[in-house]
């Protein structure tokens, strides 16, 4: 494969490397075209890539009800969580009832994907309100399924566009509980597992320091400079490590799988 990988392909490969075999992965709904691309279509390609490279025993829950779709044969771009055309995706199983064949409350889901208007230095997420709750500056859509992603799932991959306003010191409202106010907070509330494992943007990857629980810059995507990251990151804590790594490019095999098998018509990821 001679062509250069796109940013979306770099991101998909980064997600795929974060996923493991024998896991349940859950993908929910999102709002707005940009979020649907980053939080719905990108993880679908990434999960399929993982299934084709290292995780054949994993199980993909798209919108919680279309399971293990044959991603390369998907007839639509997936703009909604439901719909007549989504019901025509070739897949391995469907859930057509509220009584699902898996249980989030029993902690059966290993990985979820989330986004937010604000994500803070401890990985707390906000999809409810900017400003005060009673008289918000901007009212957002509501908590939807975010609370459970952070309290019931094994780990959460946060995906946000890399813009300064998205990265805040403290979210105005916690709809997804990251590490709250730092070390020990989750444990005190009895949240024995779960929480965010990475923040993936179109420019970089952040991971959480196991001691301080602070979001730290883990790698920068190819072609992006540190200055660009700093200019678009609103965090005030020291998040830049001494040595900056580059987010690995997809391998030639991963790139071939994405372009030829999983997304042959670029319906999922623009390129």
């Amino acid at each position: 494969m001679s062509e250069k990988a796109t940013t979306y392909e770099v991101m998909a490969a980064a997600i795929a490397r974060e996923l493991r075999d024998h896991e349940l992965w859950f993908l929910g709904m999102s709002t707005g075209p940009q979020t649907i691309l980053l939080l719905t279509r990108l993880p679908i390609v990434a999960m399929a890539l993982a299934q084709h490279t290292h995780s054949p025993n994993s199980w993909m829950l798209v919108a919680g009800w279309v399971m293990n779709p044959v991603v390369g044969q998907v007839p639509t771009r997936m703009e909604s969580e439901f719909g007549t055309s989504l019901g025509e995706w070739p897949c391995e199983a469907y859930n057509n009832s509220l009584a699902m064949s898996y249980s989030a409350a029993r902690h059966e889901i290993d990985v979820g994907f989330g986004s937010a208007a604000q994500v803070d230095k401890y990985g707390n997420c906000n999809t409810v309100a900017i400003g005060s709750y009673e008289r918000p500056k901007v009212r957002l859509v509501g908590p939807i399924n975010q609370p459970g992603h952070f309290s019931l799932f094994g780990r959460e991959i946060i995906i946000v566009p890399h813009e300064k306003r998205n990265f805040v010191d403290r979210v105005d409202f916690v709809s997804g509980a990251g590490y709250l106010d730092g070390p020990g907070c989750r444990e005190e509330l009895g949240l024995k597992r779960g929480g965010p494992c990475m923040i993936l943007t179109d420019k970089a990857v952040f991971r959480f320091d196991p001691e301080t629980r602070l979001a730290m810059l883990a790698s920068v995507h190819p072609g992006i400079t540190l200055d660009e990251i700093v200019a678009e990151t609103g965090y005030t804590h020291s998040y830049v490590p001494a040595e900056i790594e580059q987010t690995p490019l997809p391998t030639p095999d991963e790139l071939r799988l994405m372009r030829e098998l999983l997304d042959p018509n670029a319906r999922m990821l623009p390129r």
Binding site: E79, E81, N96, L98, Y133, G148, S151
Partner: protein, 300 residues
């Protein structure tokens, strides 16, 4: 002896719903909302509603935009790919709406709890979030069996339930397709939470059809108060397996509703300026409606 005929006109059915009541509108996200019924409530002046919902969209947004909703119990109001719900956003930012919000599975479970006749259930799903701090309806309880503390959540208990479905007979038996998606299944659950259930349908079919397909009769007539034939009654939302959501229309709404003046123009064009839903279909246009048709889609 013949059973009662449950068929009503849209205005007759809408007149059953009193101002000030506690009501659930079926559907989820941009699918299967009883939009014709919502438009008729707007025309008839019904107001001061407490809406108990889970994942709402243009249905609740329009009612909020016209100040018909006093209180909203919910998890989400938005337009999926078309962005946030403009009227909801404006009303909350102006402090005009009483909110009681929950996570999505909890909002679903409130209806399942009602359907089982249970007054409340418990969960730890929202632990760590700020939701219990701002929602005074969420109470803390200890498990009498000694496993710790939980959030207690009240059952949904709507006084009125209005849903949109594919077919019903004139006695009020409501038929669903066999391969349902979650929005349809949530509607079935909601239909079991009240004795005041209004169902708008794409088509009234013969009672013989029901007898031939009794396994599709998932809301039997003892549950229904009224059925109303309203073709395209979920437009601009989808009616799953019958037609898709009208993406152009929803996109237009998402823009128009951002500003009170253009929202007013939208309502004049599609609600107040039209005598009934037949005129609504003419206004949307046969060509556009035909483009949305997906009969039998998703029934593989």
């Amino acid at each position: 002896m013949q059973p009662d005929i449950k068929v009503r006109t849209l205005s007759e059915a809408a007149a059953l719903v009193p101002s000030g009541c506690r009501i659930h509108f079926g559907g989820m996200a941009v699918h299967n909302h009883p939009m014709a019924f919502v438009r008729q409530l707007l025309r008839q002046g019904t107001t001061n509603l407490t809406v108990v919902s889970h994942v709402s969209a243009i249905d609740v947004d329009m009612l909020i935009g016209e100040d018909r909703v006093r209180r909203l119990e919910f998890s989400y109001v938005g337009l999926e790919e078309f962005g946030t719900a403009p009227c909801f956003r404006r009303a909350v930012q102006n402090g005009q709406l009483e909110l009681s919000e929950y996570s999505e599975p909890v909002a679903f479970e409130r209806f399942a709890c009602s359907a089982r006749g249970m007054p409340f259930f418990t969960t730890r799903e929202m632990v760590g979030t700020d939701i219990p701090a701002v929602n005074t309806d969420i109470l803390e309880v200890s498990d009498p069996f000694g496993t710790g503390t939980y959030h207690a959540i009240s059952a949904a208990e709507p006084e009125w339930v209005v849903i949109h479905a594919p077919m019903a007979d004139e006695y009020g038996n409501v038929l669903f397709f066999p391969h349902r998606q979650l929005p349809e299944d949530l509607d079935l659950t909601a239909s079991r939470t009240s004795r005041n259930v209004i169902v708008t349908v794409e088509q009234i079919v013969s009672h013989d059809r029901v007898r031939q397909l009794p396994y599709l009769n998932l809301i039997p007539r003892f549950r229904t108060t009224a059925v109303v034939e309203v073709p395209y009654g979920a437009h601009p939302c989808s009616c799953l397996h019958v037609y898709d959501q009208d993406r152009e229309h929803l996109e237009h709404y998402a823009t128009a509703a951002r500003d009170p003046a253009s929202f007013g123009q939208y309502l004049d064009k599609y609600v107040y300026g039209l005598a009934d839903e037949a005129e609504y279909l003419e206004r949307v246009g046969a060509a556009q409606l035909a483009r949305l048709r997906q009969i039998g889609g998703g029934l593989q």
